[in-house]
Structures are given as structure tokens and as C-alpha cells.
Amino acid sequence: MHRRVLRYLAILMVTGFCATTAQALRPKDGRDTITEGHRIYDRACVWCHGTEGKGDGPSGWSIGRYAAPRPRDFTAESYKLRSTPSGELPTDQDLFRTITQGIPGFMPSYRSLNEQERWQVIAYLKSLNPAFEQEQPTPIVLPSPPLFPSGNGITNGRALYAKYECRTCHGDNGAGDGPESKAGHLRDAHNLPITATDLTDPSSFKNGATPHDLYRSIMTGLDGTPMPAYADQFAGQEEAAWDLVWYLQSLSGQPGR
């Protein structure tokens, strides 16, 4: 217990430091930043996302040709990986996180770009969709995981997994083999077949596998996919949402609570 507490505190401190440092290196949004971002995009992103950011790059014939996910169309589509409510655009920090971490199995990490370059690319991506000028994405409240969870955390989480019918897509044991997924009924926004995430394999989680990431995915849903947002259902019951997170972690043998 003591080591877990120290581990979480360390993660929070490092995350906060990195976020603060990244913000400090962020160039001012403006034409020069966008122009530089465009130059970097043409070097690093165009092969999948296309010359106009429509997700139709030459590598796209193998990625998302017959099954989800397809490279993101930055000009009009929703964003899957966000900290904002369903239907909202991502925050700049969401975009920074995705570029930095990549998406397991599909998009590489771009830590090779320095932080300033990553912010410049983000400025360019946002310039491709006028919605970023019209809307102000506001992230949901992401509380810290409770240090001292309820005694029946995983048991409560298992009950919630059943209550919210997660098994329908993710399966009884979270292996992504739920009846809807196995039957091929799940489709993404492009009507491409999509399978439910195998919750027993955290390395495959596109939106991250930390407790915070799982909480965020549950609350915001993954727009463009059948995964809905549960924020309204958990409103006022955040402790219950954490119990579900602990249960999901336990499915992979991680030290859930």
C-alpha cells in the first residue's frame, strides 16, 4: 500500500512537471507557427494523413482500408482520444498527448520531434478545421485516483461492468469478444468494421492504460466509434467510476484495488 501511494504520487509529480515544461516551450499560435507546423507535417504526417489532412495519405491503403481505424481526417471528423465531453473537440493538451505517445499498433510516437515542433504541428492541424476557431473545448474534470479506495472496489467495479453492459462488446472477461463484437456488428463512423478493445491487454489501449486514461475513456467515450460516454451516468458518483477502473485493471492482472 505504501509503495503504491508513493508510486502514484511520483507519477502525478512527473506528469505535472512534464505538462508545465511542455506548456513553457509552446510557441505562440500564429501564421509563422502554422507555417512551420505545415513543414513538419509534410515531413512526418503526410504519408498517413494525406497532403490536405483528410486521412487519405498513401499509407492509408493499408491502414483503415477495410477495417477501422482509418487515419484521422483533420478537416472534419471527430476526435477519438480526448478529455472533453462527447461531441466536443479535443484540447491542445489532448493533441499533444496523442502526438507524443502515439497510438499503439497504429500511429508511432513522435517524441523524436521536440516539444516546440509538436506544438507547431498542432497549430497546423487545428488550422485545417474551422471548428477549432468556433468552439472552445473544455475538458471534463479528471480527479486524481483515490489513494484509499473503498474496500470492495473491484467487486463494485465488476457489478458496474455488468450494469453498464460492457460485456456486450468487451466480453464477459474483457477480452474484446463480446457478442456484438464477435458478430461483426460494430462499425465506426466510416462504417468500417471495428472490434472492441481487449481489456486484458493494456498495451493495446489506444487511449492509454493508466488509471487516469481509463477513467477518461469511460467518461468521454471514443467519438467515431461505438464506445459511448458514461459521464452523465456517473455524475455525482465518481468513486463508482474509479471502482470500474480498478476492475478493468484487474482484468489484465494489473494491481487493481
Partner: protein, 239 residues
């Protein structure tokens, strides 16, 4: 002296507004949209989830025509060129309910800025997924007895509604930047009030039959009644 001054002041303040009320448009367009095509019996599809409640099969009706009046149900009628000053948005939300494994109503029409309220009256979970083109408007889990979910309509246009849990469930939300619209009832009837006199373009949209337009002349006052027949061969993909 003071009462006279007060009276004059009140007349000056109220006079112009009274004049404006006298000049406000009062004309109403009343009509029926008819469809000469065949009356379909509905496509029967299998229910693959929650069949104990939703039934093992369900019928999907894309074009509902009243046998007696030939009226087309669920057509959205609008007049986009009516020049009337903006009024306050309706306070009550537009309600879209998951009920008996179907969306009710199937066509929801409102104004940009109005709240859309999503409810679930069923004892099974629904997954209400609303999108406009490639962009998700909202995708929310609606468990039995869940609290309603509200979200304002920010953009004008056509929103497609589906349930990811029950693929046969479909509905449409149409948002306008003005209040001059109506949805035909089960007899094909509609009514649009507060119209300025003159010639207007009436737009009729149906989620299967597409868009059709016709000009109509609105009188200075009173009511004008028309019947608009949907062409039998409108491009179904034209929205």
C-alpha cells in the same frame, strides 16, 4: 399636470410598439404533403439484442403514407426566406426518447441553440449516437432509468440518430436558424405561422425521399392552404 405628463409619456412609449404589433405578419401556411408512390409494408429485420423486450423482429418503415389522404408522414416543411425579426428561443427542450426499442419522435425539428434532451423509457440499455456528417454530436450510454442527457444544437443541418446497441433504431434531428418549419403528421398535414406576405420558397425534406421545393404566395393576412405532391421520382440521395 403630472398625470397629463405621465399619460403623454406612456403614450409615447407604448405607441410605437402598438404600431409594430399592428404591422406584424399574421399569415399562416397550412397544407398537406402527399406522395403518389406505393404504400410500403415495411422491411422486416431481425432483432439481435434484447429480443425478449424488443421482439425477435421489427418492421422498418422509411416512407409512411396515409392510405386515406395519401399524406406523407414525417416530412419536414420549412420556409427559409421569411424576413421576420428574431424571437427568443423556445424554453422547453426538444425531447428524443428511446421507447419500445424505437426513437420517438422519429423526426425531431428545432432551432439552433435549443436543448436536445435524450431519454430512455425502456428497461434495456440504449446507446444513443447522434452525428452530423463525419462529426459526432453526442454518443452516450442510456441505461434503464438513466437521467436524461441534454446538449444544445449548435449547428444548423441534419443530424442522424442511431442506437449502436440496436442497429434498426433510426431517427433524424433537423436544426434550423429560424422558427418557420413544421413536420407533417400522420395525415401529411403541416402548418407554419408568422409569415410575411409575398412569394416564398417552400422546402420539403424527407429522410428517404430527399428534398423538393415549390414556390407559394403568402397573402398579407390570413391563411393560405396548399397541397404539395412529392414527385414520385425525387432522387432519394438528394438532401
Amino acid at each position: 399636470m403630472k398625470p397629463i405628463l405621465l399619460t403623454v409619456t406612456l403614450c409615447v412609449m407604448l405607441g410605437p410598439s402598438a404600431l409594430l404589433r399592428a404591422e406584424s405578419p399574421m399569415s399562416t401556411l397550412v397544407g398537406r404533403i402527399t406522395y403518389p408512390g406505393p404504400i410500403e409494408s415495411g422491411q422486416v429485420v431481425a432483432v439481435t439484442r434484447d429480443s425478449s423486450f424488443c421482439g425477435t423482429t421489427t418492421a422498418i418503415h422509411t416512407v409512411t403514407v396515409n392510405a386515406k389522404t395519401r399524406g406523407l408522414q414525417g416530412a419536414v416543411v420549412s420556409i427559409d426566406d421569411n424576413t421576420v425579426p428574431a424571437t427568443d428561443l423556445p424554453r422547453r427542450p426538444l425531447v428524443l426518447t428511446n421507447t419500445r426499442c424505437a426513437f420517438s419522435p422519429r423526426i425531431v425539428v428545432g432551432e439552433v441553440g435549443q436543448q436536445l434532451e435524450i431519454r430512455n423509457d425502456d428497461p434495456v440499455m440504449h446507446n444513443t449516437h447522434i452525428s452530423m456528417g463525419p462529426r459526432t454530436f453526442v454518443n452516450v450510454a442510456m441505461i434503464p432509468a438513466s437521467r436524461p442527457v441534454e446538449k444544445p444544437l449548435k449547428q444548423p443541418g441534419i443530424y442522424l440518430v442511431q442506437c449502436d446497441a440496436h442497429k434498426f433504431m433510426r431517427a433524424t434531428v433537423v436544426a434550423f436558424t429560424h422558427p418557420f418549419f413544421s413536420v407533417t403528421d400522420d395525415t401529411g398535414a403541416f402548418q407554419i405561422a408568422q409569415l410575411t406576405p409575398g412569394e416564398h420558397l417552400v422546402t420539403v425534406w424527407h429522410d428517404t425521399l430527399g428534398t423538393f421545393q415549390q414556390r407559394v404566395t403568402i397573402p398579407a393576412r390570413g391563411e393560405v392552404t396548399i397541397t404539395i405532391e412529392y414527385p414520385a421520382h425525387v432522387d432519394a440521395n438528394k438532401k
